[in-house]
């Protein structure tokens, strides 16, 4: 699955995107996936430190942390929007 990081998620993690194989983890929720990611490095831990600021889209649709990742082809992590 393609994993995208925007704004300070990208800065802290040091990546704009990466490919992560999630096959075989059928019941994985967004929250589970975040917990896994947060253990990868200090940068990931810093990015996912405050769960209230972790917003997520599955295939470009905003979802909450309890949503199953399922067979989405793209997941994106980003802070609250500040456009306009």
């Amino acid at each position: 699955m393609k994993v995208l990081y925007f704004a300070w998620f990208r800065d802290r993690i040091g990546l704009a995107e990466e490919e992560i194989d999630l096959s075989g983890s059928k019941d994985l929720t967004v929250r589970d996936f975040i917990r896994d990611l947060a253990t990868r490095s200090d940068g990931y831990a810093a990015a996912f430190e405050d769960m209230n600021l972790v917003h997520v889209a599955l295939d470009m649709q905003e979802v909450d942390h309890d949503t199953l990742v399922g067979n989405a082809s793209e997941i994106a992590f980003y802070p609250p929007f500040t456009g306009g």
């Binding site: 704004a7 802070p79 609250p80 929007f81 500040t82 456009g83 306009g84």
Partner: protein
């Protein structure tokens, strides 16, 4: 009509394009957001707008469709810029057109309020004190929330 672009836009040209050939429009409202050189007591030299390509256009189109569902609009335009901007630069354009002014005024305000909290754009400010990502404002969230009740007109 929704566009996300790095280039500047000309509000007059966009208004003319939206009105071309139309004789059913009695009112149009144009809103332009500009970049300020100061934000929350910090000097800002450059503001960089980042977006999620694909989702940003999709979100803006959904917000535009919602405005057309709530108000009797004849036409609308949303243009959001991305990339580095300087103080005084235009950031965003919203135009709404309707037979009468009330729908145009309300829909323009609605579009801006929802666009700020529901479309994937992020601002980074750069100035003498370095770079920082702009935090979301609870006042923007409050402004968006007030439209979740039933629409005032239509």
């Amino acid at each position: 009509m929704v566009r996300v672009q790095a280039e500047n836009f000309d509000p007059g040209v966009e208004l003319d394009a939206l009105l071309a050939g139309r004789t059913d429009i009695g009112a149009s409202v144009s809103f332009v957001g500009h970049m300020r050189a100061r934000n929350e007591d910090r000097d800002v030299e450059t503001m960089t707008l980042e977006h999620y390509p694909g989702m940003a256009e999709k979100a803006l189109s959904a917000i535009e469709a919602e405005a057309h569902r709530r108000w009797p609009l004849q036409a609308s335009t949303i243009i959001h810029r991305v990339g580095p901007l300087k103080p005084g630069d235009r950031i965003v354009l919203v135009i709404t057109a309707s037979a009468h002014r009330q729908a145009a005024f309300e829909a323009a305000e609605f579009l801006m309020d929802w666009l700020k909290t529901k479309a994937p754009f992020w601002k980074k400010e750069s100035g003498p004190r370095g770079d920082s990502w702009v935090s979301s404002r609870s006042t923007d969230e409050d402004a968006a929330q007030r439209w979740t009740a039933s629409p005032k007109s239509k």
